[in-house]
Assembly symmetry: D2
Homo-oligomer: 339 residues x 4
């Protein structure tokens, strides 16, 4: 059993914890919280031991009925791998701690590539992660791009990618962040950082990205154009997407035309936390104009990276050498079949 | 086994179907859809037989991989009770159908009191529903008011209620309805219809309500003032709320201050569809000033009436005579304990 | 003086009326309303004679203190040109009326090209509109595309255009339309109709557009890529945009990064109705990658077509033969200089 | 001429500057900015001398084409009265500066009552402000409450006020603040601070307020209940509101039912920045139930305090002793008549 700890039990951390706990070859030995909250109460409900950064707050936790298992340092000692789920920029400051404890660690996309020196996507570079101490799982947007560009590139060759990312303003439960009624260019320059970020995983791809933020909490939407090397028909493109185990095709018969309806659909399916772990490609949008491929995909920011973290753990531990084996193990443990 | 059919498998209908299917004494014998859609696919996944209003559309359903069990009329024949979940105003037009089929039927709050001649809330008037052919479950807002006013009135007597309902603009998956950036008075006159609607269940309550719509999809928020007959302390009020099995108290230790954080909490708890079946009373807001009681409560529009429908079915069938027995059966079958 | 009537005094109609009234060579001889409302009261304030479609409602208008000048038919008789500002699809049904009255008419982008048989943009095809009876001013999005594609095409040649239009869900005062929290593909197929619509004005342009709707009321945002025939530097692109009298460059020193801040800026400038009549190109976003030009532009849906209507009127009347003369007359009468 | 400087030329500051500049007995001798921005460019356009807090940034301003008149300290020396428009909490830290310069100063509602020791509303306590060095104009919400409670109390006596304030999440141009899709209790306790704040102006009023934040940028909405001492008819209430020169009655004939439509109306009227300086009471909502008065009022957060600042200046300078004289001077200079 791979012993996993989650440092920073927030939006991503709590999902990774549940996904890890569902794996046959992994267990959660602890999660960390900075203060008592509804999320800490959920960790109690799940039976995850709770460690805290600042032991002087132990009383506050216990008054709230949340037992404290020890300090974060103690948690690090018990784990084989740490999944760092602290906010963007904070993760980096934890590196020393992990080095000192000699523990493997995974950061999220809010950190720079340099923090780990290696950026991960299961379908793209699982093998290169085998045995590594430090790995960074790329952001939700970059993960979504990696999956779809990799599969198309493998099949038909990609001359260039031009992508517009229409990003959600904040996660559903985050009430302080906006915008309320605006489209915000983020950044107002072109290209955005998403292209270079993709290149940390797929260095040879010619990509330019443009990004903006809109007042929604549900999902990101990508409007993607790819120029292909070889001729491809719409049906061939749909076929490779359909075959991919982390790309979902939203079929016209669902009548789904928006992120909100898509979220409702996976909610109705009973997915934990209504999570869309796969890319949500709108089948009706997939189109070829000459050698140019066009499509829309929805990316559930809270979910797609979660399963990548699980594979990253497996790769780093080195037992499972084959990416597809790990991906299948991860998906199956979650009873997850892409749409 | 009570045979239940859901006519109109939408936001409310699909939830009632699942809640009914979870009961030991009930089963779903069919649900109706008007056209193929993601919801119809969900009904297939759940194993509910699908009936359609217009049999000429059978082909369209079957092309979409959705088997059709028959017409709505055939469905009515097989059921003991119909839960009508069609849109407000449509339900009324189905009355003739139900009369002709001689079947019991439940309408939702989008219909007028007159359609059934009896308006229902489990804690308030379960016994009066016993044996009835037609019952209307009051709207989400009225259900939320009924629960809390009834329990306070029983304990301390209510002189009058003044309530402001800040309503969500549309359900999460409804993308055509607004507003996007406005507070809309609905109605711009005072009182709103919620007071008279409450009086269909609790006729003796002096109540004036004011209602508006805001750009959110999550939940309604009620700001409530009640003048009490007897003296009551804040602790006494909290005690009766805590004891109530469909009123939840959102504790300060959760740090939850908004509808969105509350939704996240029940999502994290693993509730199906992240549903808040109970009133969500913010414990920190409960306050007594003289004999006036003040508090905020969140009402999950999609969820609170669902369990009331289950009890209404039981009351109408007449086997279970005691309200608390039915309420406990309903809650337990859903593994539901109020916050 | 060109006598202009506005049939349908709504979002577009009221703005066109004011813009026309500001011109030295034009006057408003009447506007039409279907019922008393705040907009009708504004027409009274402006001194525009009010005509009504249904004379049986005369009393209702007069009770509300709104004098009625006559029927729409009477208005048509007094006018040289009608600007039809009725809702999309309604305009078409008015064609017979205009034909019968033998009056010139302008439709808006909500109607199909075929209603007029000629689609207009001042910089692109003013001369072709000279003397015509019927003209359609293309939609806000298409107008924004026309301006910028035309000027770049003239200077450097355009091989192809790929554009993503992130559209506002509803105008600011429209409270019934959503979405509230979703990105809605509209259409969920690619291409959207904007490309073909642009081709009604600039038939030779190779263009593919993708469109979605987001929960904002302020403006549309376009993410545009153009492949150019000739080499061009970023400075050369900026120079032709800066010179264009209906393209504004939002300078970095303003620190404006969003539609909302841009709206605030033109509001602070004192523009009537805070209208952005020009394309709002974000200077910092303009970039050349090889022969590909990238940039973001904000399009104020309520405003950009307004001044095009004024030029269309002048072209149809035929006195002013030179596009730039008309454009300058229109702009100057509004004291409008592009950002 | 009263020499006025605005320290903090933001949402409130820029409006106060324009309102002051429009007065016959006042002039703007300077405004302060901390960095170059669109607002600084607007100050240039208006011809207001620009002073900066940190003279080392002079170059940055001048590179952006914004001439710098000097330091904030120099500005203070030239002014009779400073209007402090810095963000809530910052204003307080400027007190020493104003004391040192021996200049009169006005703070806004983001500061505590204690910073000035006197809280102002023109209709309520103008006379008590005469000659004062330091005054605080109460917040937008409190200003809206003061006006309407004062006039009703004077006419009929107020036994108690219960008010629910449904607040806008952020000003229109503020894109970082949310919420996007939530109702946020602010505070989650009852009462909110608005009651005590009102008591700094009208100490004898029995008032309990409840406050929440919703995802809109337009205006606040108040749902108000007042118990009156004397009998009053709806018509009598409407009459005193109609007579009040800073309370507007939104008439049913306008068909306005929301903040957004109201904003559109004042925009169409040509008001600078579409500002609603008056309380926007929805006439249709005004109702008497026994001795209880109910109504809704919209409060334009950016605007209502602006004109109160102008009167506060006049009161502090002491020339105009009569409140109504000052109020009329202020309103007339802005060509403002309440709806
Ligand atoms: N939320 C998303 O949509 C999303 C998607 C992909 C990647 N990411 C990335 O995942 C990472 C986490 O983001 P999130 O959205 O889950 O953040 P979050 O704010 O939801 O959760 C962060 C958690 O870390 C805890 N924390 C804060 N400081 C800490 C410290 N010093 N030590 C231990 N715990 C601490 C917080 O209490 C919180 O529970 C970021 O790098 C982010 O960029 C987020
Ligand atoms: N959604 C809520 O928040 C909510 C809360 C409480 C009560 N209600 C009430 O519940 C009722 C249903 O509302 P909803 O929100 O679930 O609506 P919905 O639109 O989500 O679902 C209605 C369903 O009825 C189907 N339908 C439409 N016409 C039909 C017909 N003629 N025959 C059979 N099926 C038909 C539709 O296909 C859809 O599946 C209404 O009375 C409403 O007022 C809704
Ligand atoms: N609003 C925009 O953003 C926008 C932008 C560009 C183009 N357009 C196009 O402009 C046209 C008008 O749109 P709008 O947004 O101004 O609509 P609107 O709804 O704001 O105004 C339409 C007006 O027409 C009146 N009307 C309705 N039916 C009528 C009839 N039969 N006869 C006379 N008057 C009637 C209505 O009372 C209303 O005043 C549409 O074609 C639309 O697609 C709109
Ligand atoms: N915006 C509203 O709706 C509203 C309504 C009523 C009252 N108020 C109150 O008015 C005050 C100002 O609020 P606002 O919304 O106008 O804020 P704002 O952020 O729009 O403007 C504040 C301005 O002060 C400047 N500033 C910041 N620090 C400064 C410093 N140290 N010295 C000089 N200038 C500085 C900023 O550059 C900015 O221009 C606050 O007390 C607020 O609570 C605001």
């Amino acid at each position: 059993m791979i012993k996993v700890a989650v440092n920073g039990y927030g939006t991503i951390g709590k999902r990774v914890a549940d996904a890890v706990a569902a794996q046959k070859d992994m267990e959660i030995i602890g999660v960390s919280k900075t203060k008592p909250s509804s999320e800490a109460l959920i960790a109690v409900q799940r039976g995850y031991p709770i460690y805290i950064a600042d032991l002087s707050k132990k009383d506050a936790f216990e008054k709230a009925g949340i037992p404290v298992a020890g300090s974060v340092e103690e948690m690090l000692k018990k784990a084989d791998v740490i999944v760092d789920g602290t906010p963007g920029g904070v993760g980096e400051t934890n590196k020393k701690l992990y080095e000192k404890a000699g523990v493997k660690a995974i950061w999220q996309g809010g950190e720079d590539h340099e923090v780990a020196g290696f950026s991960f996507n299961a379908h793209a570079n699982y093998k290169d992660a085998i045995g590594r101490q430090f790995v960074r799982v790329v952001s939700c947007n970059t993960t979504g791009l990696c999956r779809v560009i990799k599969v198309v590139d493998d099949a038909f060759g990609v001359v260039k990618v031009r992508a517009v990312m229409v990003r959600r303003g904040a996660d559903p439960h985050v009430v302080k962040k906006g915008p309320i009624d605006a489209v915000v260019l983020d950044p107002p320059t072109i290209p955005s950082h998403h292209g270079p970020d993709l290149n940390t995983v797929l260095p040879h791809i010619n990509i330019v990205t443009m990004a903006m933020i809109v007042p929604t909490t549900q999902m990101h939407m990508h409007a993607i154009t790819m120029e292909l090397k070889k001729d491809a028909s719409r049906d061939e493109i749909l076929a490779i997407m359909r075959k991919h185990n982390r790309i979902g095709l939203i079929q016209p018969k669902t009548a789904i035309k928006s992120t909100a309806e898509l979220k409702e659909y996976v909610m109705d399916m009973g997915r934990p936390r209504s999570d869309l772990w796969e890319n949500g490609v709108f089948e009706a949008s997939v189109n070829m104009v000459g050698k140019e491929l066009f499509f829309f995909q929805a990316i559930h920011q809270e979910a797609d990276v979660v399963i990548e973290n699980v594979d990253a753990i497996r790769a780093m531990m080195g037992e499972v050498k084959d990416p597809e084996t790990s991906i299948r193990m991860t998906n199956e443990a979650l009873q997850f079949t892409a749409l």
